[in-house]
């Protein structure tokens, strides 16, 4: 195993460990809320744990985990806004949902790829998602999300090898407009890059932003030009794995980065 692959595996192992931790927090919070259903701090913690699992899973391109956890998070968002009461019935559904997330994660972790196993789990997840959807206003979220995530996958992914002696990479990132809505925070890619190398320069691209009045603030228009020092080969593979919702990620040997503001 190259040190490069090792680096990615480390990041992945950390993700699984943290996700398990978050799931335990979710279970603990749900049980605590059965005694004190209006404890806003615990409700907020519950929401954040689900949000974090979804965001991190998105970073690693785990679409099945993202889709399901998105449902859980959406219901929890309504709970924390006081639109839905967390009663015993919902608490039960959420506890079962955390089991579903746990199994979905385990399937990724253990690289279970047999179609029967995946399909069976997806059916379980879909059934659970349907129960969750009854707490949401819109019931079509589940199926639509599937389509929108795959539609935003790399339409123009151009990643070419090439690294100079100093190990400086120039990385251009552009995101699909649905990125935020699919629970993907572009900033998580930057966090990831920071974890594997040194960002020596970063330029946030804002020229795709529409006029303020016309801006849909839930649509993503951000882009980044980054110079990353990472003296290892195969950076390409890492980006490939982590850019499920990136519409354009180019990675090339660099010269000077223009730093003029648009």
């Amino acid at each position: 195993m190259s040190s490069d692959a090792g680096l990615y595996d480390d990041a992945l192992a950390t993700f699984f460990a943290e996700a398990r931790d978050m799931l335990q927090q979710i279970v603990d919070a749900l049980l605590a809320l059965e005694n004190d259903p209006h404890d806003q701090d615990t409700i907020n913690a519950l929401f954040r744990a689900a949000h974090t699992i979804k965001g991190s899973a998105g970073l690693f391109g785990m679409d099945r985990v993202v889709r399901f956890t998105h449902q859980v998070e959406s219901v929890l968002d309504r709970v924390r806004n006081g639109d839905v009461v967390l009663d015993i019935a919902l608490s039960d559904i959420l506890l079962k949902s955390s089991d579903v997330v746990s199994i979905l994660l385990a399937q990724v972790e253990q690289k279970i790829e047999t179609p029967e196993h995946l399909l069976e789990m997806d059916r379980n997840a879909a059934a659970m998602a349907k129960e969750l959807a009854s707490y949401l206003q819109v019931e079509k979220i589940v199926t639509e999300d599937v389509a929108s995530i795959s539609a935003t996958v790399a339409t123009e992914r151009r990643i070419s090898d090439g690294v100079n002696a100093a190990g400086i990479w120039h990385i251009s990132l552009r995101f699909g407009q649905d990125a935020f809505r699919n629970g993907f925070d572009p900033l998580s890619v930057i966090h990831y890059l920071r974890s594997i190398g040194d960002i020596v320069q970063i330029l946030t691209i804002v020229d795709k932003l529409p006029e303020f009045e016309a801006l849909d603030p839930e649509a993503c228009f951000l882009g980044f030009e980054i110079r990353l020092q990472q003296p290892r080969p195969k950076l390409k593979q890492h980006l490939n794995l982590s850019v499920a919702i990136v519409t354009c990620a180019s990675c090339r040997q660099t010269g000077a980065l223009q730093t003029t503001l648009p």
Binding site: F180, D185, P186, L187, I190, V206, P217, E218
Partner: protein
């Protein structure tokens, strides 16, 4: 920092999940989270505030003292506001930015888009 906060008479901040209230024209406070879950609501308030500031030829000051979290969508909204301010010739000033938010803005190389201040005792 010793500061006083004013709430609008309708106590919006206690009803809304995101507390945004006008201390006076040309001045807004953002509290709590600025994430994908709040950006739609906050954007419409910022839109009104920007229009009002433009009409009155006054700067728009955002008090961020009680802002706890900001994600990519939040950062994008702040950047869009900065651009809009520049286009409308309204000075947009971010005041009392908490350390974690300032560090984030800094780490994305976008600090130059904003004018910031630490004082900003409205009144």
């Amino acid at each position: 920092m010793a500061r006083t906060k004013k709430k609008s008479s309708d106590q919006l901040s206690e009803l809304a999940p995101v507390a945004v209230f006008a201390a006076q024209p040309g001045s807004l406070a953002l509290e709590g989270e600025l994430t994908i879950y709040q950006v739609a609501e906050i954007k419409s308030m910022l839109c009104d505030a920007l229009a009002a500031a433009k009409a009155a030829f006054i700067p728009l000051r955002l008090n961020l003292a009680a802002l706890t979290e900001c994600d990519g969508a939040g950062l994008q909204l702040l950047l869009a506001l900065a651009k809009a301010g520049k286009a409308a010739k309204v000075q947009v000033e971010l005041q009392n930015m908490p350390g974690n938010i300032a560090a984030m803005i800094d780490s994305y190389g976008v600090a130059a888009y904003f004018s910031t201040a630490t004082g900003g005792d409205e009144k």
